[in-house]
């Protein structure tokens, strides 16, 4: 009976007695959710264009952040380093298209998936070789990212909003909106959607598959760079960020692998729910629930909606 009380009643009593903490938790969940959505977006773009789950998206986050910090450490001014890092991500996209995607055209999806594994280890090796494996600090101040916090007295307490988190939420939202607009309303976007629907049909109307792949991988690289800057500024730039980026997997399962709005909604749901669960139900299980809770949600969604909340329903005839 007591256990039922602890599970079903006590968390809500806690929410009611300390609403400021609830508000703080919702804010933290929202920020995490936006960042998860940003990472997930990188996966979705590539999945839609090439039909492959890009396992290398996580290391692309680390690699882009390391390049930025490394260029700055080499004496390049921060904003120029940012532009050069974007250029590096473009070169990477061209390289991936030429050396990985093009030779594997018409191969089964699993081959492409395995190729992204190879790409992951290649980028880890190159990153460690050039920049070293030690933890580095993101050049947040030099990139004019704000620091400090705003304390909002509300709900009988204080809700503290980090200016960096506000900036992260705004930048991520702008980036998500911009990518949505580009891929929904521009010529490139229409071509991208055509490729996503059918490679052959797209080719038959003169769309260059190779060009679209480069654009999409470059877009995913830019998304990775933005994520690397934001997450790196919140903690540090280290190879551990790669694992954080894999948090996008349950987000994708939830939102659907093929849906840009799904990535956004999925990210927010996972971000908010894992924070709420850890704070109010986590202590009952010894804490540390964040490492698995998102996957539980994903599993439940898989049971009832295998294509995710917004993913395409694929019906294949036997």
């Amino acid at each position: 009976m007591h256990l039922l009380y602890l599970i079903l009643v006590d968390p809500f009593v806690q929410m009611g007695t300390a609403p400021d903490l609830l508000a703080q938790t919702l804010w933290e969940g929202l920020v995490s959710g936006v960042l998860y959505a940003l990472i997930a977006l990188g996966f979705v773009l590539i999945y839609k264009a090439s039909g492959v789950f890009n396992f290398a998206q996580g290391i692309m986050v680390v690699f882009s952040a390391l390049t930025l910090v490394g260029l700055y450490a080499a004496g390049v001014p921060a904003l120029l380093a940012l532009a050069l890092t974007a250029a590096v991500m473009f070169v990477l996209a061209v390289g991936i298209e030429r050396l990985v995607l093009r030779p594997l055209v018409n191969r089964p999806d699993i081959i492409l998936f395995m190729a992204t594994f190879g790409l992951t280890y290649l980028l880890i090796g190159i990153g460690e070789l050039i920049f070293g494996g030690d933890t580095k600090q993101m050049i947040a101040k030099q990139l004019y990212l704000p620091s400090g916090a705003i304390d909002l007295p509300m709900l009988g307490g204080v809700v503290r909003l980090q200016k960096l988190d506000i900036a992260a939420a705004i930048i991520a939202s702008v980036l998500v909106a911009a990518l949505t607009v580009v891929f929904q309303y521009t010529r490139i976007g229409r071509a991208f959607r055509a490729v996503a629907d059918s490679h052959r049909a797209a080719l038959s109307v003169g769309i260059s598959l190779n060009q679209i792949w480069i654009i999409v991988w470059f877009a995913a690289g830019i998304v990775a760079l933005a994520t690397g800057i934001m997450w790196g500024a919140r903690s540090e730039v280290s190879f551990a960020l790669e694992v954080v980026a894999l948090k996008a997997l349950p987000v994708l399962i939830l939102g659907g692998f093929t849906s840009i709005p799904g990535a956004i909604v999925g990210g927010l749901i996972i971000g908010l729910s894992e924070k709420l669960f850890e704070l109010y139900w986590g202590p009952l299980m010894g804490g540390g629930t964040e490492s698995w809770f998102a996957y539980v949600i994903a599993l439940i969604v898989l049971l009832f909606r295998p294509h995710g909340l917004f993913g395409e329903v694929i019906i294949e005839r036997i």
Partner: protein, 439 residues
């Protein structure tokens, strides 16, 4: 066998020969397990450099130890127990005189192997706390303090600040830790101390995959409002925890870390990290003759793998301390056996007879670097004095005098833990190794 297959076999043999360097019989083989890659490299790199540079300096300056060169070889574990065991299996056949796992998980996996392979394991201030008992674990050494010693010193410090152990009653101590064998190691003692002194314990585990995503743990801290926080962190977990603590507005003066947090892991949190506490047992910096020699014979000659900026920082110096223990154990083993090229069994005896007095520290060019340390057959740890350092915004500064562990509380628990280990591992061998002295 056809010519083709003979050629292939010959090539394969050549390749294997190239991949596994042989070490001459007139050298002492010292493998150095390290992690320069992966999520824990931030902590692993300076330690690996400190270890490597001190032993390389001995090779360059003195021609090794007792006139015998040290054959040094790093093996990358990535702080992964599986890879650590692979490293151990790879070096085992090359007659290593000692193995430094640099991971509690790897140490736990190697403890049963050490006695069988006759290779002493040095888990310097980490690993299984109960391994301090040499009568039960004759091949394992964990000087100069166990994790339980470290925790007891922190609790002692907290009690002193509160005005006595009786004042701990009703207080709450939060414990944030890497959810791995390392982070879990001190929990039994923490719970015992909580029972003894009536304080509450709140546990905040951080999974390795969530090291850089700790906002939930710190929301819990905000809700629970612990009077003090203790951290057992490693790698990217540490800078993230410090940043989150600052973000949450936690009083940094009440935030204690075990001895593994380096300067680079605090700097990123900015001025808000001022007041953070950290344990240590040696001084930091480069103001010692041995460090001048490292610079002259290793750094200036381009023989170091590290960056000059880490020279003299806390974790680099920790690596140097680790290598001093290795070198001294070899030195003592040579004196005991009158042999130049010593074996793992000899170095085990060397460790048991280690006597790093203040005179000896001076002789090796590290006058005042650390406290005296003497080990024995029964005591493989030393349980030396520790001190508290405080972050002043740019560097660690000494914030306490020497504080000894709570031996009266810890010793019986160590004995019980050792007994429990033996009971769980049926057939654990009784010590048969002779003892050179009975101190």
């Amino acid at each position: 066998m056809s010519l083709r297959w003979t050629s292939i076999a010959a090539c394969a043999a050549m390749l294997i020969g190239l991949a596994l360097p042989a070490f001459a019989d007139d050298q002492i083989y010292v493998p150095l397990f390290s992690y320069r890659t992966g999520p824990f490299a931030g902590s692993g790199i300076p330690i690996a450099d400190g270890m490597h540079d001190y032993l390389t300096m001995l090779n360059e300056r003195d021609g090794g130890i007792g006139g015998v060169r040290l054959a040094l070889e790093e093996c990358e574990t990535g702080y992964d127990t599986k890879k650590g065991i692979e490293c151990y299996e790879a070096v085992k056949g090359k007659k290593p005189v000692i193995v430094n796992p640099w991971s509690t998980g790897i140490t736990l996996a190697l403890i049963p192997k050490a006695a069988v392979d006759k290779i002493p394991i040095l888990s310097m201030a980490y690993g299984l706390s109960a391994a301090a008992l040499g009568d039960t674990f004759p091949w394992i050494f964990n000087p100069p303090d166990t994790y339980w010693d470290g925790l007891s010193v922190i609790v002692k410090q907290i009690a002193a600040r509160e005005g006595g152990f009786d004042k701990l009653k009703g207080k709450t101590i939060g414990y944030i830790y890497l959810d791995a064998p390392y982070g879990k190691e001190p929990i039994p003692l923490l719970q015992q101390l909580a029972k003894n002194y009536g304080f509450n314990v709140k546990l905040y585990p951080v999974a390795a995959a969530e090291m850089q995503n700790q906002s939930s743990q710190w929301l819990n801290v905000r809700r629970d409002r612990p009077n003090y926080m203790i951290m057992w962190g490693w790698g990217a977990m540490q800078p993230t925890a410090v940043k989150e603590a600052v973000k949450t507005g936690y009083m940094m003066a009440n935030f204690y870390s075990i001895w593994w947090i380096g300067e680079g892991e605090v700097q990123g949190a900015g001025p808000g990290a001022k007041g953070l506490k950290n344990l240590n047992w040696h001084n930091n910096g480069t103001g010692y003759q041995a460090f001048a020699d490292i610079k002259k014979y290793v750094l200036d000659k381009g023989l170091s793998k590290g960056s000059p900026s880490e020279f003299g920082l806390e974790l680099y110096d920790r690596g140097v301390y680790n290598s001093v223990l290795i070198a001294e154990a070899i030195h003592v083993a040579q004196k005991l056996t009158k042999a130049k090229v010593v074996t793992g069994a000899d170095v085990r005896r060397g460790m048991e007879n280690l006597d790093l007095s203040s005179t000896r520290w001076k002789e090796i060019g590290l006058d005042g670097f650390a406290n005296s340390l003497a080990l024995s057959c029964a005591d493989h740890n030393g349980h030396g004095n520790l001190f508290v350092q405080e972050w002043d915004g740019t560097k660690w500064v000494k914030a306490s005098g020497d504080v000894g562990p709570m031996n009266d509380v810890v010793d019986p628990l160590l004995a019980a833990a050792a007994k429990e280990y033996v009971d769980k591992n049926t057939g654990w061998p009784k010590r048969t190794e002779a003892c050179d002295h009975t101190s």
